[in-house]
């Protein structure tokens, strides 16, 4: 890595003043499992790194009648192991427990998982200045794109690698951000940005803003949720395609379906088509099948990633059948 100054933040309010408004100058470090990877590959060479772990109080999980408040510094291991999350916010526990490896989950934080950069092998190559890094070409378009997007792509075609993001969006989470102008909150769904808004970033954060907390409303009675993740190996790998499904059920009918896809688009991808096929229906095999077909009806595969269309269609159906 290039050398940098290392600073411990004392509290949240201090963080924006420790950060530059230039993305290349400063970075925040939480668990560090993504940031250090980028620094080691010389993709990022900040002059200063601000440690968030020194800030007290950001590593708490608070579960009460209103819902779940998870500090951005809570580790993925702790999320996956939390009994309330396992029982009542199952999709989130399953998603967190599926990330990478035990070593990474033990230090990787919720904030880091949501804010992580993409895994695209052109982006991660320090010798390639692709469009996302300020260059003028997205090499995935004409190049090797078997891991790239089938929805929402253009002008860059990365997929968002987070597992917790689709789960939390399916759960209706909101995000709290602290910046130089104070605090703002927004639905987590609005935290992520499509590349046609900003090809160089994946979310709304300014260089001197920090995500501090995620809040999830208490699910209604009878709600079921699950996370299905398809990958080549059973460990380490990011999703080839994943689905976070969170259904409000009344009787045998799905009154409100939340279907959010991972690994297939530059942002966690809410499948409004699949949701429309499920809302208000009894989930039979036929309905589940229709939901799968609807989920990919508008997919735009690239030269090498057509298999993701089949995968996504199938796991949306499977998730629906599992929750029926």
């Amino acid at each position: 890595m290039e050398n940098f100054a290392y600073v411990n933040a004392a509290d949240v309010e201090q963080v924006p003043s420790l950060l530059s408004d230039d993305w290349t100058e400063t970075k925040m470090i939480a668990g560090g499992t993504d940031l250090l990877g980028e620094l080691k590959e010389y993709i990022e060479t900040p002059k200063k790194v601000v440690n968030l772990k020194s800030i007290p109080g950001l590593d708490k999980i608070n579960a009460d009648a209103s819902g779940l408040a998870i500090g951005a510094l809570v580790t993925l291991t702790d999320i996956a192991a939390h009994p309330t999350i396992q029982h009542h916010y199952t999709v989130l526990a399953e998603a967190a427990g599926s990330v990478a490896s035990p070593q990474i989950r033990n230090v990787g934080t919720l904030g880091g998982n949501l804010c992580q950069r993409p895994r695209c092998w052109y982006y991660r190559n320090p010798d390639i200045i692709c469009l996302k890094k300020g260059g003028d070409t997205c090499y995935a378009v004409e190049g090797l794109n078997k891991y790239h997007a089938i929805f929402g792509g253009g002008p860059v075609y990365i997929v968002h690698p987070s597992d917790t993001a689709p789960a939390l969006i399916a759960l209706g989470a909101t995000a709290k951000i602290v910046g130089p102008n104070g605090e703002r909150t927004m639905p987590l769904e609005d935290f992520f940005v499509l590349p046609d808004v900003n090809p160089q970033r994946e979310n709304v954060l300014e260089p001197n803003e920090v995500l501090t907390e995620v809040h999830v409303p208490q699910p209604k009675m009878g709600t079921k949720s699950t996370y299905l993740k398809v990958r080549e190996r059973g460990s380490f790998d990011f999703a080839l395609s994943s689905v976070a499904a969170h259904f409000e059920m009344s009787g045998g009918t799905c009154s409100k379906a939340n279907v959010v896809l991972g690994g297939v688009a530059p942002i966690p991808w809410r499948s409004v088509e699949a949701e429309a096929a499920l809302n208000g229906k009894r989930i039979t095999d036929a309905v589940a099948k229709q939901a799968g077909e609807a989920a990919v009806a508008n997919a735009e595969p690239m030269t090498d990633n057509g298999y993701k269309v089949t995968l996504t269609q199938n796991i949306v159906s499977r998730a629906a059948m599992r929750l029926a």
Partner: protein, 783 residues
């Protein structure tokens, strides 16, 4: 109690479990500095000039070298086509063009960035079927005819300019075989198979530490497979006499055929010479995956003639080994891979044309199996297809075609200790072959597949050992055999313990150091147990002979009437005996010395060979021995996601004599695991510029613990059919364990869902695609 044949604990285990085992990267020498390589970003380019001045000025930089600093000598295994640092041309992405040694790896890396290389890009050539043409679009080695070549390739009227290997097998009448099949209601089964780009991906990346002495001699520490190959390679590269080069092999973190080169070591040595400081070079994981020898793809076109009763009567193969910028250690693969074309079967007619070509991709190396795992993929899938075509059980079909003990194969290898039948039937029993797989709920399907393999161990070759006996009756074995993890040190220790009737902890091993340990060819080709094991026994015999001669007068007996065991020398059939200690005298001030001379047994075990004629593929006795093994897999396939899980796996190999049964089990499990990774997940990807896009252990996917079956479903079977020449009848296990794996899995997938995938790896996307095609067309693809 004898220890050969028992699961003696690893003698190097304590160091490994305590983390005190010293690997190359753990070595620290006083004033040591660090090296980094400047690599070509182009697959094919002329080098017009290199300016190292900026790099040389940087604080902390101690030496910078280019080809101009090195002897102008080409290196290689048998075709000498490669410079240590690129001369006027680079022929693959990542080829080193310059090197820096500096106080820290970071400074060295930054200095490499400051080296300015002027390239003229040339059109690259990646397609092997274009490369093999008589008039290819690009020629990689314009000066090929001037290169020193230590082997003959098959005769041809005109050599395609990118061809570095050609080998033919002409046995029997192939046209007659095809005609017979056609005329008599048999089958002609013709298919194309391909393997992918695979890497050894050892957990220890390549590296070396080099240090010069004031007398102009070089010491190199490098975790590699042969200190003597390294020594001679360094001597040649640096224009030294071999006696000026000392190679020491520390603990090695895996090799699998990938640690035969001395490239990094020689570069480090040259930097060390220029800087006057010891130099350490350790490749990053990305460099290790992208710029060291890989298992490059084969393309096989196979046409089989089969009678309607399922007897294979003729086989025609054209194969191309998709080589890289240099011929490398893969030079003999087009020859040795042909062992699987007859395999263990009787074959009246065999007609093969096997080629190796240059392209501007990574060079091909010697990964475990040396071409045989690749050819097994093709031929053992063919056997499965033949079985289904003839409506004969796949195990029965293979048995019906097997050779018998004493026959010769279509390439004149004698079938000795021919255990193919036993391996196959035991494997089939273990996977419960007679019982079809259970049906599962959609979208999962289960199926079983089986495959038979063999693996030669090459010749000519030799191993020497020395065995010193100390006055306390302990023994010291000096060997250049290398324990890469496969357990060689433990097995050799067991042999010495049994030969002398002493405890394991009374045997000490002096590990490879060319200043001390005698010649051993290489830790490769599954040869160490066999050759070094024999040499060890012989050296023990020699030492015991010396002991008997020394003891004869003290015991007033004839040396032939004496026995040496447990630290004692006894007269047979009497109670007269002395101790080894009694053969030593006390010298004032100097302790004890042997009364006459040091007791050092020496031996060389050598196997000569009459190599195959490259125009016919026939020869007398071309290899040291042939090993056999069969593997079977039960898979579960998800047709919606294409995922393939290995539910059960059986590996049955014949080791002649299990010197250390737990050690053999380890090879069965470990080889199975590597074979599973190669079959399903491992794939080096290259972009249009020839650069590897997935040079990380995240994106180059070797199996994790969850890819493997649960313990109760993972079975290791040890077959023991003694080899007449092996020590205690033993043969090696290192490579046979990856040979049948891919076809066993491919055949299992077919059994589960009725689809054939012809090219490895069998990824989810290929499975899904094949399944959809099958659903669309209404029948299986390829039966």
């Amino acid at each position: 109690m004898a220890v050969v044949g028992t699961s003696t604990k690893r003698i190097d285990g304590i160091e490994k479990v305590t983390g005190t085992a010293e690997f190359t990267t753990d070595i620290v020498l006083p004033r040591m500095i660090h090296a980094k390589l400047k690599r070509s970003p182009y697959a094919h380019a002329k080098i017009l000039g290199i300016d190292t001045s900026k790099a040389e000025q940087m604080p902390g930089v101690r030496a910078v070298i280019t080809a101009a600093d090195l002897p102008d000598v080409r290196l290689g295994v048998l075709t000498l086509d490669e410079h240590l640092l690129a001369h006027d041309k680079t022929r693959l992405v990542g080829e080193p063009v310059a090197a820096v040694a500096a106080d820290t790896p970071e400074i060295a890396r930054a200095a490499c960035e400051q080296i300015e290389v002027e390239y003229e890009e040339l059109a690259p050539l990646f397609d092997p079927e274009e490369a093999i043409k008589l008039d290819p679009p690009v020629v990689l080695h314009e000066e090929y005819e001037e290169y020193e070549k230590l082997l003959e390739i098959a005769e041809m009227d005109e050599r395609p300019p990118n061809l570095w290997q050609a080998y033919r097998i002409r046995h029997g009448d192939i046209d007659d075989a095809f005609k017979k099949a056609e005329d008599e209601g048999g089958y002609i089964i013709e298919n194309r198979y391909a393997t992918g780009y695979v890497h050894t991906a050892c957990m220890e990346p390549h590296g070396a530490v080099a240090q010069w002495s004031s007398d102009g001699s070089l010491t190199l520490w490098a975790g590699g497979q042969s200190p003597y190959i390294a020594r001679d390679g360094l001597a040649k590269a640096l224009d030294l006499s071999p006696s000026k080069v000392r190679v020491i092999v520390p603990f090695v973190g895996g090799a699998f055929g990938g640690k035969l080169t001395v490239k990094e070591g020689a570069i480090a040595a040259s930097l060390a010479h220029k800087a006057g400081r010891p130099v350490k070079i350790i490749l990053t994981r990305a460099e290790d995956l992208a710029a060291t020898a890989a298992r490059t793809p084969f393309i096989f076109d196979i046409k089989d003639a089969v009678t309607k009763d399922g007897i294979l009567i003729g086989r025609k193969v054209t194969s191309i080994l998709w080589g890289g910028g240099y011929s490398g250690e893969g030079i003999l693969k087009p020859i040795f891979s042909t062992h699987l074309y007859p395999g263990s079967y009787r074959l009246a007619a065999l007609w093969v044309d096997s080629y190796g070509v240059y392209t501007n991709r990574v060079s091909g190396g010697a990964l475990r199996g040396y071409g045989c795992a690749e050819s097994a993929w093709a031929v053992e899938t063919q056997m499965d297809i033949i079985a289904r075509k003839c409506d004969i059980d796949a195990v029965e079909l293979r048995i019906n075609n097997l050779l018998t003990e004493g026959e010769r194969t279509a390439i004149t290898m004698p079938a000795h200790a021919f255990s193919a039948h036993e391996c196959l039937t035991k494997c089939a029993d273990a996977i419960e072959w007679e019982t079809p797989s259970e049906s599962l709920e959609s979208p999962w399907y289960r199926g079983k597949g089986i495959a038979l393999g063999n693996k030669y161990s090459f010749a000519p070759t030799a191993s020497s050992t020395e065995l010193k006996v100390h006055e306390d009756a302990s023994c010291e074995l000096r060997t250049s055999a290398v324990d890469l993890g496969q357990g060689a040190y433990t097995i050799l220790t067991q042999i010495v313990a049994d030969e002398f009737g002493i405890e394991i902890d009374q045997v000490k091993l002096v590990t490879p150091d060319t200043a001390i340990t005698p010649f051993d060819h290489v830790a490769g080709s599954s040869r160490q147990t066999f050759h070094t094991g024999n040499a060890t026994r012989m050296a023990c015999d020699d030492a015991k002979r010396q002991i008997r001669e020394l003891a004869a007068s003290k015991l007033e007996a004839d040396p032939d009437d004496l026995e040496v065991s447990g630290g004692r020398i006894s007269v047979k059939g009497s109670s007269k005996s002395i101790e080894v200690e009694d053969l030593f005298v006390v010298e004032m001030l100097a302790g004890k010395r042997p009364a006459v001379d040091e007791i050092i047994g020496k031996a060389t075990w050598e196997v000569t060979a009459s190599p195959h004629d490259p125009n016919t593929g026939q020869g007398e006795e071309p290899m040291a021995y042939m090993g056999h093994g069969a593997q079977a897999a039960e898979v579960e396939v998800n047709v919606e996601t294409g995922q393939v899980r290995i539910r059960r796996f059986v590996s049955a190999i014949d080791v002649g004599k299990a010197m250390n049964p737990q050690g053999v089990e380890m090879q069965n499990y470990g080889g199975g695991c590597m074979g599973i990774g190669i079959a399903l997940h491992e794939d080096m990807c290259f972009d249009a510029n020839g650069e590897m896009t997935n040079a990380s252990l995240m994106d180059y996917k070797i199996p994790s613990i969850v890819e493997m079956p649960l313990n109760e479903y993972m079975e290791s079977i040890i077959v023991e059919v003694p080899h007449q020449h092996g020590p205690y009848g033993a043969k090696g296990a290192g490579e046979i364990v990856v040979v049948p794996t891919s076809p066993a899995i491919g055949n299992a997938i077919y059994d589960a869902i009725g689809v054939r995938i012809w090219d490895q790896p069998l990824t989810p996307e290929k499975v899904v695609k094949a399944w959809k095609e099958k659903q669309a067309s209404g029948n299986g693809s390829g039966s």
